[in-house]
């Protein structure tokens, strides 16, 4: 587990390489369209960082990250629509199907500051409430996963069912500006990409700090033996809620940046299927590692775009097979191959390690 972090320079160098790739190489070699796509992948990667923390480190299999992603995205979209419409005016899509004007709960988001605060706070707050409601009652494992999935389903239904307020199944799109900057100008689109890249790097730093801190150790302890942690005098519900809330905040920011970069947010982007789809990148990259979820999410999103350009239905098979094979046969993701090679080269694993797999898991290890 910690061997990934053991090589301290490797982390710094890896981070530097990532920054150079994102800030210098990508803008130089990619067209505006492809750079926009990369920006979209980075937004998914932000969600993935959070999932890596909550699921990989905390054992909370959240199938509802689309909800937090969606809240961030819709908040941003509401603000952009209101800003496009101008002070006191009604956004175009609303005027089309309703004569009642802007719903009261839209009004605060005319302010950019309120919107940004809400993007940071609301997903986090919802995660805290949900976390307290579930973890405190020891709802966990499969129960938690299925509840979070049902939440995503309910969220999508709610969005579709209120077209006047949320644009229904179309969602919100046709944004002209982003905090005063025209979204049609390629220079501004590049700026958005840079913001996304910077946000992702900051999130990776936050995640790393959380992972190597005492909190990170405690989180792993909660994942592997929640009751045991309780007997040491901690409240695991609080520990897990913090990780879940951080993951939600990251998803919310990812969603908020997704909107101006992609230009549309619809219920299709936040329901059950995309929520689970976000997991596969994390699983492939290596759920417990720092870089694994990020690289996995970007790689999977890229593969989806390019594969579906060639074989429309083939992508479904590929995605299904990835879920099956990676999770069943390589639960540590590709990162476990890297780690295995590294440890094999550095020093042979201590002999008892081989025995470990043979002994049955103690009761505390399984999260039933």
């Amino acid at each position: 587990m910690t061997s990934i972090f053991r090589s301290r320079y490797a982390v710094g160098i890896g981070f530097l390489v990532a920054a150079v790739l994102l800030f210098a190489v990508a803008p130089a070699v990619l067209t505006t369209f492809r750079l926009g796509l990369l920006g979209k992948y980075l937004c998914y990667a932000m969600v993935a960082v959070g999932i890596g923390l909550a699921w990989g480190r905390g054992g909370m299999l959240t199938l509802g990250q689309g909800v937090f992603f969606g809240i961030g995205a819709y908040l941003m979209a509401m603000h952009l629509k209101l800003a496009d419409a101008g002070p006191g005016a009604v956004p175009d899509f609303m005027a089309l199907i309703s004569s009642e004007g802007v719903p009261w709960w839209w009004e605060p988001f005319r302010s950019g500051t309120v919107t940004i605060i809400a993007i940071l706070v609301l997903p986090t707050l919802l995660a805290v409430l949900l976390g307290q409601a579930t973890f405190r009652r020891k709802v966990r494992g499969a129960y938690f996963a299925i509840l979070s999935q049902a939440l995503a389903a309910a969220f999508a239904i709610l969005l579709i069912g209120n077209p006047v307020a949320t644009g229904g199944s179309t969602g919100l799109n046709n944004f002209k500006g982003f905090f005063g900057f025209s979204l049609r100008d390629p220079a501004n689109r590049q700026m958005l990409y840079f913001i996304a890249a910077a946000a992702l790097l900051v999130m990776v730093l936050v995640a790393r700090q959380l992972m190597v801190s005492r909190f990170g150790e405690l989180l792993v302890a909660c994942r592997d033996g929640e009751e045991r942690v309780r007997f040491l005098g901690y409240d695991p519900a609080t520990v897990k809620t913090v990780a879940f809330a951080v993951a939600a905040m990251m998803a919310g920011v990812g969603g908020a940046l997704f909107v101006p970069i992609v230009g549309i947010i619809s219920p299709n982007d936040v329901g059950v299927v995309p929520s689970i789809g976000l997991l596969i990148g994390v699983a492939i990259g290596g759920r417990t590692t720092l870089a694994g979820p990020v690289l996995g999410a970007i790689a999977v999103a890229w593969a989806e775009t390019s594969l579906s350009e060639q074989f429309p239905s083939g992508w479904t098979y590929v995605q299904g097979l990835m879920f099956m094979l990676v999770v069943a046969f390589l639960p540590g993701g590709l990162a476990s191959l890297v780690k295995w090679r590294r440890t094999a080269k550095a020093d042979p694993p201590p002999p008892p390690a081989a025995e470990k797999d043979l002994t049955p898991e103690p009761a505390g290890g399984a999260q039933a």
Partner: protein, 294 residues
């Protein structure tokens, strides 16, 4: 009064559909801890079995009855293949089974599209199941009555199998204490496989029943899987009677809320109620008391 009777019946009927979908899950998830997201696609396989039977046999009445056991077999075989190839190695990682079976469900859906086309297909209801039947002055759809009866029969059959047969005793023993069961000479591998066979077979039967209600297409399973899991969760793990109560309560709640609001709102409210319920009974209606650590 009319509305009362109609809506209670609709609720029970919706509940019976949920129950058929959830019964197999209550076995595989409740008793083995495997979260089988492909359960919905096993239902889809059952529905397509009914379609193929009708294409081959022609007569609607005969083909429906014939397809019930065949769908049970096909659903069961799919389950056994899944269990033997993938899930067997994963019993100590229950959460990961969710993702693996999600992948299986994606593949099965796409296979169905490639085999049967993207367009939905129709299974004609036999004459004795179409239209309403008058009971005490109220009109009840025959097909819904049929599903209600089918669900009850399935529950009774599963209960009897678990309670009375040697297989049922083996299943219960394995669920309660795997190691002890093994040392008592029970082949837990075979028991796991048989449990999965029955659970998945029930999905096949549910699929046949669904052909009477709606469209048969590749996404048939996805409409039911979340609700079915909610039923199992509310019912309590390892509890058939819990699933029965949960299914009917959810069904009646859904139909009543839907009647006074709308279908969309009803779904959201029902979900909120489920979360609230778990606040009071985090282990479901029937909790199994245990003194083990986790």
């Amino acid at each position: 009064m009319d509305i009362l009777v109609t809506q209670v019946f609709n609720g029970l009927s919706g509940g019976s559909i949920l129950l058929l979908a959830a019964l197999g899950l209550a076995l595989t998830f409740g008793q083995m801890g495997v979260i089988n997201m492909a359960h919905g696609e096993f239902m889809m396989a059952g529905a397509y079995t009914a379609y193929v039977c009708q294409q081959l046999l022609g007569s609607a009445g005969v083909s429906l009855l014939v397809s019930l056991p065949i769908a049970f077999l096909i659903g069961g075989l799919l389950g056994v293949v899944l269990e033997a190839t993938l899930l067997r190695r994963m019993y100590h990682r229950p959460l990961d089974t969710l993702l693996v079976t999600w992948g299986v469900s994606l593949i099965l859906q796409q296979l169905a599209r490639d085999l049967f086309g993207t367009a939905g297909v129709d299974v004609a209801a036999p004459a004795w199941l179409s239209g309403p039947v008058e009971i005490l002055g109220f009109a009840f759809p025959r097909s819904r009555l049929f599903i209600l009866v089918l669900a009850i029969v399935a529950v009774v059959a599963v209960t009897l199998v678990l309670k009375l047969t040697p297989l049922g005793r083996r299943i219960r023993a394995t669920v309660q204490n795997r190691q002890l069961a093994e040392s008592a000479g029970i082949s837990t591998r075979r028991t796991d496989m048989l449990t999965f066979f029955i659970g998945s077979g029930l999905a096949g039967i549910a699929g046949v029943a669904l052909t009477l209600m709606g469209s048969i297409s590749s996404n048939l399973g996805t409409s039911y899987i979340v609700d079915a899991f909610l039923v199992v969760i509310i019912g309590g793990i390892g509890q058939i009677k819990g699933a029965v109560i949960a299914a009917f309560v959810l069904g009646v709640a859904q139909s009543w809320i839907e009647y006074s609001t709308s279908a969309s709102i009803a779904k959201v409210i029902v979900f909120a109620l489920v979360v609230a319920f778990l606040q009071f009974r985090p282990q479901g209606i029937f909790q199994v008391r245990t003194r083990s650590l986790v």
